[in-house]
Structure formats: C-alpha cells, structure tokens
Symmetry: C2
Subunit: 197 residues, 2 copies
DNA sequence: TCGTGACGTTACAGACCGGTAACACCCTAG
DNA sequence: CTAGGGTGTTACCGGTCTGTAACGTCACGA
C-alpha cells in the first residue's frame, strides 16, 4: 500500500512526466519552469534539485520519450514473433494512428526545430536517438527480407517525419492522410524487387 | 540614381528582409525585436510604425518567403516551357539543392512547430500558403501526364518535408541524402502506371 | 529522541521580452 | 521659408524567464 499510489509518484518522476507532456503540447520554448512545476504539483526548487538546468530537463525528457517509443518496438516483436514483415506493417499502422490522434509531431524533430543553436547540448542527443531509431527500422526492413533495406527504411522515415510535420501545418486532412497508402505501396514495391537483391 | 542604392532600401524592406533571415536561422521565438531592428540598421519604433506587432511581422515574413518561392516556379516554366515533366524533375533538383545548402528547414513548417497555439494568427496563413504550394505541385504532376497526380504530389511533399526536418535532426548525411533517388524512383514508378489512369 | 535528508515556501536577482511615450532630427514638397 | 511626414533616440512599462538563497516543515531511521 505504501507505493501503490499512482497519484503520488516521486516528485522527480512527476516533473519528468509533466514536462514531457507540456513540451510536447506547447513546445520547449513555449513552456516555462514555473508552469511545469505547478502542473506537476511541486515547486521550482525541487525541480532544480533533480535537474541541473532546463536544458538538462529537456534532454532527460527526450531520453524518456525515446525510451517509451522503444517499448513499442518490443510490442511489435511480442505481437508478431519472428514475423518481421508483419512487424513492419505494424509499424506503419502505429505510425498512422499517431498521425490521426496527435496533432503535434515528433518531440525530437520539434526540439531540433526549436533549438536552432548548433551547439545546444540537446542536439547531439537528438541526433543520437534519431540515428538509433533509424538503425532499428533498417534492421527490421533487412530482416523482413527486403533488398534495399536502407533505402526503404530511409524513405519510410522521411515519409513519416514529413507527415508528422505536415499535420502541424495543414492538419490531418492534408497529404498525411495518404500516409498508409504511400507506405504500403512502397513496401510492396520494394518487396517486388527483392529477387534482385 | 536616387533609388539605385541597394545598401539603403526603405526601413520597412530592410526589416522584412532581415527578419526573414533571422527567423529562418534562429527560429521565431529565438530572435527578439531588438535584435532584428539592430541587424536591420534601424530601431524599434520604426518597426512598430510599419508592423502592428511581432505576430504581424511574422505573417508578413511568411508571405514574403512564399512569394520568393513562387518566383522559383515561374523559373521552371521559363526554363522548360511546356515540358511539365522536365519542370517536375527541376523541382526535385531544386529541392535537393536546398537540402544540401540549407541546414534549416521550411520556414512555414518550422513556424507551425514553434507557434503551437492553435489560435495563433499565423497558423491560418501557414495553412493557406502550404495548401497553395500543394495545389501547384498537384497541378504540375497532373499536367505532366501522371495518373495519380494527387498521390504523387502528396508523397513528394511529405518526402521533402521530412527531408528538411531530418536535416535539422541528423544532418545532411542522414536519410535526406537519398532524397533525389527516392523522388526520381517515385516519378518513374508513377509514370509507369500512367496507362491505367 | 535526535538528526538527516527530501521537500515546500517565499523572496529575489538579473536578464530579456514586446510594446509605448515623448521628443529631436532631417529631407523634401509646397 | 515652412510645414509635415518619415525616421532616429532615449527612456520607460509591465511582464516573463531561468536560476538561486534562505528558511521552514515533515517523515523516517538510527
């Protein structure tokens, strides 16, 4: 009973969770430390006891978000054990769901847009996490028996990245509405050329 | 001789030009009014005599940038008069050049990311300009004799949008490096299915 | 019981932000 | 010469931002 309270996690965890949510919804520069601590039901001093600075908090949020996304990949494996092609289709479906449900794009990409300073500490983290994300998709494509796995993975990556940005510019009824058709068409097309690879 | 001085355009034009450049490089929330006016060689009062607010300046900058991009489309027509397919390939080439030369993405998309407030006055302008941009590409694809013109145009749009975002996250050596191959492959693929349309 | 550490509260520093007021200046048109 | 519009200068307002200092509180464990 002593740790069964979902409502009252440790302040650090509440801050991290709240900050992720608020950064996602309002952007990094669109939300201040005070707003985060208030929404997390704590105060500024406690935040600065757990995080060195706002930049540090940003980085920890990005890592936490990436970690959650990583859990999704494990779900692909458990739901379609061994069937890499089914996992790839699951990736497309999950991506499409995100496009439909979430008006804001990828936290890492958004952060890269907002933090334009080339030497910002978060930038190397963003690059690192995005590259890991790419590697996973490339591996999945390769294991699914696709010849030009890198090219398909990169194409799908750009397509999704573009769709998540497009949603923010013109909404879900814009070009991103066709994401599934595009992605599935690409997979079919690349599968067709598997024999040559 | 009275208006031949490039160095000394009217203050309003200098402000607009400088603001476009600085918003593009440092982001909208990353640059203040003081920095713009100083870089434009003028002062804050003069800015506020020509623009109602920073939001107004943002909108005028977006319109000006879109206008410049529009001039590019006219160049396609003059360089390849009547040859719509050549114009489409020119579009791909210009897009790839942007990816290589410019580390920051599309001003409109970046603005949409930064200005997360759903009722921000710039958002309807962004949507309007992006939709006009899409219409032009759809028309070009259709006039080039491609069957599923909308789908190709939307796919190319998302691909470019994604590439411009990806450059900001992982640099020019990431997935966006394959943009030309992807785009040209798509055009070939869609051309192949023209007979059915 | 005592003390130790995590947490909360208040206040504040210093900087930056968007935006305005008041006034001086200069060029040009009449 | 004069009037006026566009411009530059200075100072300022109120607000917000990140980050810190000092102090109070409370629970828990030795």
């Amino acid at each position: 009973m002593e740790d069964g309270t979902v409502e009252r996690a440790r302040p650090r965890d509440r801050i991290l969770e709240t900050a992720q949510d608020m950064f996602h919804k309002h952007g990094i520069k669109g939300v201040g430390i005070d707003a985060i601590t208030e929404a997390a039901g704590t105060n500024k001093m406690t935040l600065y006891r757990h995080f060195d600075s706002k930049d540090d908090l940003i980085i920890q949020c990005l890592r936490a978000t990436a970690c959650k996304a990583g859990a999704m990949w494990e779900k692909f494996e458990t739901e379609h054990p061994g069937d890499k092609l089914a996992q790839l289709h699951a990736w497309v479906r999950v991506a499409a769901d995100m496009l439909r449900a979430d008006g804001r794009g990828c936290d890492m990409a958004n952060a890269a847009v907002e933090l334009s300073e080339t030497d910002h500490p978060a930038r190397r983290v963003i690059k690192e996490l995005k590259e890991a994300q790419r590697d996973r998709l490339v591996t999945l494509c390769r294991d699914a028996g696709i010849g030009q796995a890198e090219l398909l993975a990169d194409t799908l990556s750009l397509l999704l990245e573009g769709a998540r940005v497009s949603v923010q510019s013109v909404g879900t009824e814009g070009p991103s509405a066709q994401f599934v058709r595009m992605a599935e068409g690409l997979i079919v097309s690349f599968r067709g050329s598997t024999a040559s690879g």
